[in-house]
C-alpha cells in the first residue's frame, strides 16, 4: 500500500458535487466529495440507497457530468468545471474497464468475441483481438468456455468473461458495480481474488460499489457515502 501511494493516484476526485433539478426539486446527489485511488488498490464504495454511490461511479466513469469539482483519471485531468475532452467514450475505452452486476455480456457474441469486441472498438486487427481475448479468458480460467454463448455460461463463468472484457484494452481503472451481488459466497470470493490479482499484476485501481458484506474484508479501503457526503473511511 505504501508503495502504491508513492505513485500518482489513478483516480482523483476533488470537491465533486452533483445536483439534479433546481429550486424545490433540487436533489444534491454528491456534496464536495474527494477521494483518491492508487495503482494496485482495490477499494469499495459503500452506503445506503440514495447515498450517491452510483452517481459517483458514473462521474468517475465519465457517464454523468458533475456540477462542480475536478476529476483526474490516470493523471489526466478530465473534468474541471467542464469536460476537458470531447471524446468521452474513447476516454472510457482507453482508461476504464467496467464490470456490471449482471455481467451485461452481449447475448449475440460468444465469450471470446465478447472480450474481443472491446479490442475491435480499439481498432485492433481481428487476429490480434482474438489472440488477446483467448489469453485473457485463459488468465481468468475460463478459456475452455471461449466458444460458449452467454446464455450457456454459469453466473461465475459469465462474470469472469465480463472481467476479461473489462481488462481487454489494459485499462488502469476498473469500475465495478455490485460485481458479486449475483454470485454465491464461493464465487464472490473467486471474483474478488481475480480483481485483486488484476490490481496487483497490472497496477490497476479497482473501485467497486457493493453491499455485499461477505467481501468487505477483501478491500484495501472502504469509502462510506451518506447523503452525498463521504464519511471517514477505514481500511
Amino acid at each position: 500500500m505504501s508503495t502504491a501511494k508513492q505513485q500518482a493516484p489513478l483516480v482523483s476526485v476533488g470537491d465533486v458535487s452533483k445536483h439534479f433539478g433546481e429550486g424545490s426539486t433540487r436533489v444534491d446527489a454528491l456534496r464536495e466529495v474527494s477521494l483518491e485511488v492508487y495503482p494496485g488498490e482495490v477499494v469499495a464504495l459503500l452506503g445506503p440507497s440514495g447515498s450517491g454511490k452510483t452517481t459517483l461511479l458514473n462521474v468517475i466513469g465519465c457517464i454523468t457530468e458533475p456540477s462542480s469539482g475536478r476529476v483526474s483519471l490516470d493523471t489526466e485531468l478530465v473534468y474541471d468545471g467542464r469536460w476537458l475532452r470531447d471524446d468521452l467514450r474513447k476516454l472510457r475505452l482507453e482508461k476504464i474497464g467496467f464490470i456490471f452486476q449482471f455481467h451485461n455480456l452481449l447475448p449475440f457474441l460468444n465469450s471470446k468475441d465478447n472480450v474481443a469486441v472491446v479490442l475491435s472498438l480499439a481498432e485492433f486487427d481481428a487476429d490480434a483481438a482474438s489472440r488477446r481475448a483467448v489469453e485473457l479468458l485463459d488468465y481468468l480460467e475460463v478459456g475452455h468456455r471461449k466458444d460458449a454463448m452467454p446464455a450457456k455460461l454459469s453466473g461465475g463463468e459469465a462474470q469472469r468473461v465480463a472481467i476479461a472484457r473489462a481488462l481487454a484494452n489494459k485499462p488502469r481503472i476498473i469500475l465495478a458495480d455490485e460485481p458479486t451481488a449475483a454470485l454465491d459466497s464461493q464465487r464472490a470470493g473467486i471474483v474478488m481474488d481475480l480483481l485483486r490479482k488484476v490490481a496487483e499484476e497490472q497496477q490497476a485501481a479497482v473501485l467497486a460499489v457493493t453491499h455485499d458484506e461477505k467481501i468487505f474484508n477483501r478491500f484495501d479501503h472502504i469509502f462510506h457515502l451518506r447523503d452525498g457526503r463521504l464519511e471517514a473511511g477505514h481500511g
Partner: protein, 377 residues
C-alpha cells in the same frame, strides 16, 4: 467484427420470420405494380395485335375501345382505296358470356376477315381460321383446346387454334371469329325480336356493320396523311396507332391506373411505417446491449451501423423473398401480372430508401440511450 450480422445470426429464426412478414407486404406492393403494368399491357394487346397504322371509327367517337363505334361494313373498300394504304380490314369487338362444360366463360369476341388486317399475330396451337363459318381461335386463358365446341348465341363453334396473351382491357380472354360470324352474333336479332320488328313494318335490318376499320400504310406513306384524308369525310373519324394507344392508356385504364397507383403509394407508406416499427422494436429489445456498448466505448457510428445494417438486411431479404414469391405465383393471378426489371429495381431502391429513413426512429432511440442504463440491476 460485424455486430449486426452476429445479432441476426443469434436471432435468426425471429429475424427471418420478420423478413418473411415484410416480404409478403413488399410482394403485395410488387404485385400491385405488376397488375398495373398488366392492365396497361392487356389494354394495349388488342390494339397492337393487328399491327396496323390507322384506325377508322364512327364520326364523333373515340372508338372502338373507349367508346362504341358503328360504321357500315363497306367502308373498308373506301379506306383500302385511299392513297398510301396497303391493306385494310374490318373488325368487330364485343363481350359475350357463355358456358362450356358447366363452366361460365366470359369472352371478348373479335371478328375479322381472314387474310386482312385484324387477326391474331400468332397461333400457338392448331391452325388459323380456314372456313368462313363456325370456327374460332381461342386464347390459351379461356381454358379451351383445339377440337372443343362452344355455343355462342344460336350457333356452335369449333376451336381450331389457340393464341397466347390475347385479353381485353377488362381482362377477358379473346376469341377470334370470322367477321360474318361475329356480325351475326352481334347484330342479328333473335327470331322473336326479328318477327316483332317485321310486324312493326321495319325491315330485317342489316348485319353488315363493323366497329372499326384498321389499315396499314405503305412504307413511304404517312399515317397522319391517311388520317387527315379520312377525317375529311364527315361520317368517319380516324386516328393513328399511337393516338389509339394514348386513348387507351389515358382514358380506358386511367382511373384504374390512378387507383392502383394510389393504393401502391399507400402500401409503400404502410411498409415504411411497419419497417420503422419493426426497427424501433428491435432497437428497444437491445437497449441494454446498446447502453453496454456505449459504456465500453463504442462510438455512435458503431451503434448506427448496427441498426442501419440490420434495417438494410431486412429490406433486401424482405424484398428478395417478396419478389421471388410474386415471380413464382404471378401466373396464378386471374389477371395478367407483368413484372418489369425496371419496376423491380425502382421498388428495391425505394425499399432501401424507406429502410434507411425508417431506421432513423431506431437510431434516434439508440443515440438517446444513456450508457448508465447498463449499470445497476
Amino acid at each position: 467484427m460485424n455486430l449486426a450480422y452476429r445479432d441476426i445470426r443469434h436471432n435468426l429464426g425471429r429475424f427471418l420470420l420478420t423478413c418473411f412478414g415484410l416480404s409478403l407486404l413488399l410482394g403485395v406492393v410488387l404485385s400491385m405494380i405488376g397488375i398495373y403494368r398488366g392492365l396497361v399491357e392487356d389494354a394495349l394487346t388488342l390494339v397492337r395485335t393487328p399491327g396496323v397504322d390507322v384506325w377508322v371509327v364512327e364520326s364523333g367517337t373515340r372508338g372502338p375501345f373507349a367508346e362504341s363505334s358503328r360504321i357500315p361494313g363497306d367502308t373498308r373498300e373506301a379506306i383500302a382505296r385511299l392513297h398510301g394504304v396497303s391493306a385494310a380490314g374490318s373488325i368487330t369487338y364485343q363481350s359475350i358470356e357463355t358456358r362450356h362444360e358447366g363452366v361460365k366463360l366470359r369472352l371478348y369476341v373479335v371478328g375479322y376477315e381472314p387474310g386482312r388486317p385484324g387477326g391474331p399475330d400468332r397461333i400457338i396451337a392448331g391452325r388459323a381460321l380456314g372456313r368462313s363459318h363456325y370456327e374460332m381461335l381461342a386464347d390459351r386463358r379461356t381454358g379451351l383446346k383445339p377440337g372443343d365446341r362452344v355455343t355462342l348465341g344460336r350457333d356452335t363453334f369449333t376451336v381450331v387454334g389457340l393464341t397466347d396473351g390475347q385479353v381485353s382491357s377488362g381482362g377477358d380472354p379473346v376469341i377470334y371469329l370470322t367477321l360474318k360470324d361475329s356480325q351475326q352474333l352481334q347484330f342479328e336479332l333473335a327470331p322473336p325480336a326479328a318477327r316483332r320488328e317485321m310486324a312493326r313494318g321495319a325491315g330485317p335490318g342489316t348485319t353488315d356493320t363493323v366497329n372499326a376499320i384498321v389499315a396499314r400504310v405503305r412504307p413511304n406513306a404517312s399515317a397522319d396523311t391517311v388520317v387527315e384524308t379520312v377525317q375529311r369525310w364527315k361520317h368517319l373519324a380516324a386516328m393513328t396507332q399511337a393516338g389509339q394507344e394514348i386513348i387507351l392508356t389515358r382514358s380506358v385504364v386511367e382511373r384504374a391506373r390512378k387507383q392502383i397507383g394510389l393504393f401502391t403509394a399507400i402500401l409503400l407508406v404502410v411498409s415504411a411505417v411497419i419497417i420503422a416499427l419493426i426497427l424501433y422494436t428491435m432497437t428497444m429489445d437491445k437497449i441494454r446491449e446498446i447502453a453496454t456498448l456505449k459504456l465500453i466505448g463504442a462510438p455512435d457510428r458503431t451503434i448506427i451501423g448496427l441498426i442501419l445494417q440490420q434495417a438494410l438486411a431486412m429490406g433486401v431479404i424482405g424484398f428478395g423473398f417478396g419478389a421471388l414469391l410474386i415471380i413464382t405465383i404471378k401466373d396464378y393471378f386471374p389477371r395478367r401480372v407483368v413484372l418489369q426489371p425496371e419496376d423491380g429495381l425502382a421498388l428495391a431502391a425505394a425499399v432501401i430508401v424507406v429502410c434507411v429513413i425508417s431506421s432513423g426512429l431506431g437510431v434516434r432511440l439508440a443515440l438517446k440511450v444513456d450508457p448508465a442504463t447498463a449499470l445497476g440491476g
